[in-house]
């Protein structure tokens, strides 16, 4: 092999090795939890930071949405089918907000362990169905695909 060829080969090997290491690190990162929002279970377990803003995601527990005052303040419970956290929010809720719906709330915990939200965002799922079909599916007890996803 001529020296020029050998040099080029070395460089190509170095390059491929660099890419491999890069991809390796990327895969390592993908395996770790990078989403920095917390589930009600995390809050119960005390994993969520105190006195700092963070995001919590979960389903609104049916029958818990209350409007205690005259104003726009809303209270509801949020669950990940494991633990429950109480959320308080003052402001206009998005249309999609309803019981049983997945939401993401931004805010911080107060001393009583309640989550004081400064923002509530509703997440709609990726299913598109006519209402009758949905009802039929619910009746037959079929689980909607995607509803058992982590986080929401």
């Amino acid at each position: 092999m001529t020296p020029a060829r050998k040099k080029r080969l070395t460089l190509i090997i170095l390059m491929v090795a660099g890419i491999a290491v890069g991809v390796g690190f990327a895969l390592k990162a993908l395996n770790e939890n990078i989403m920095f929002f917390f589930s009600p279970a995390d809050i119960q377990a005390g994993k969520a930071p105190a006195n700092k803003d963070f995001r919590v995601g979960g389903l609104v527990v049916e029958g818990t949405v209350k409007r205690p005052g005259e104003g726009l303040t809303v209270e509801f419970n949020l669950t990940d089918n494991d633990s429950v956290v109480k959320v308080k929010y003052t402001g206009i809720l998005p249309d999609l907000f309803r019981e049983g719906q997945g939401i993401i709330a931004n805010g911080r915990l107060n001393d009583k362990g309640e989550f004081i939200a400064s923002e509530v965002l509703a997440k709609h799922d990726e299913n598109y169905m006519p209402p009758e079909v949905m009802d039929a599916m619910k009746k037959s007890g079929q689980k909607m695909p995607g509803m058992d996803k982590k986080g929401i």
Partner: protein
């Protein structure tokens, strides 16, 4: 078979041949496009039932989703052309690359606008710095970068190679941008149709959606052909075939 393909590839690469070929296909494509669009819109806006959860406002997916698909698809077309430009230095690939960029940018813009119109009733806000939305916005900037760079270089053959490099670099970055933004913030729903198990969309909605997707693809081809024809005439204005074309 391979030989035949190479021959076809070279013949398509010749500007006069492509000019005639594209011209003869345009009327047919227009017919196909009209039929698909009418069928898709009728199916989507009239025949399809309202959604159990989002009511009538979900109907915007018949524009939004195909536009978003196109925005990615056209970028891939551009990057593939970029590779052809750098490896084989084919003139037609340069022209296709640069003519795709404004179409891709328009689809990206359309996807963003319809998405934000949809976001208001669904999420309660026109714009959230959500993963999909943000990466789509960055994709728009990548398109604008390609258009801007091409416009800034006077010598068009050189400009073609410059945007080829840029398109390829951008292609590597698209998945990175996509995942980085997704991890950073996620509100947009997951993929519906491309999920490996059965699509979680009812067939009455799926059919018009696919029709619209197909119609957008055909529209892209029509618009691309017309742009490429115009650009070829401009670039080759001093060549013999253009002269003959206008004399006859």
């Amino acid at each position: 078979m391979f030989k035949w393909f190479v021959k076809w590839f070279h013949r398509m690469g010749s500007p006069p041949h492509f000019y005639r070929f594209a011209g003869s296909w345009l009327p047919w494509l227009t017919v196909v496009f009209t039929v698909l669009t009418v069928a898709g819109l009728y199916g989507g806006l009239v025949l399809a039932p309202p959604d159990y959860q989002q009511g009538e406002s979900y109907r915007i997916i018949f524009i939004h989703v195909p536009a978003a698909w196109m925005s990615m698809f056209i970028y891939m077309v551009m990057a593939s052309c970029g590779i052809i430009v750098l490896v084989w230095r084919m003139k037609l690939a340069e022209v296709v690359l640069i003519c795709s960029a404004p179409i891709g940018a328009s689809f990206t813009f359309l996807a963003l606008v319809t998405g934000s119109l949809w976001g208001k009733p669904m999420w309660g806000t026109y714009w959230v710095w959500d993963a999909r939305l943000t990466s789509e916005l960055i994709l728009l900037f990548l398109y604008l970068g390609v258009i801007g760079l091409y416009g800034a270089i006077d010598e068009k053959r050189v400009a073609g190679r410059a945007v080829a490099i840029l398109a390829i670099v951008g292609m590597i970055n698209i998945p990175i941008i996509h995942y980085s933004v997704e991890w950073w913030n996620s509100l947009h729903q997951g993929a519906t149709v491309t999920k490996m198990d059965k699509p979680s969309i009812h067939w009455t909605m799926l059919v018009p959606l696919l029709l619209m997707a197909l119609s957008f693809k055909v529209y892209f081809i029509i618009s691309l052909f017309q742009r490429v024809r115009a650009e070829l005439l401009h670039r080759e204005r001093n060549s013999r075939w253009v002269e003959e074309l206008f004399r006859s």
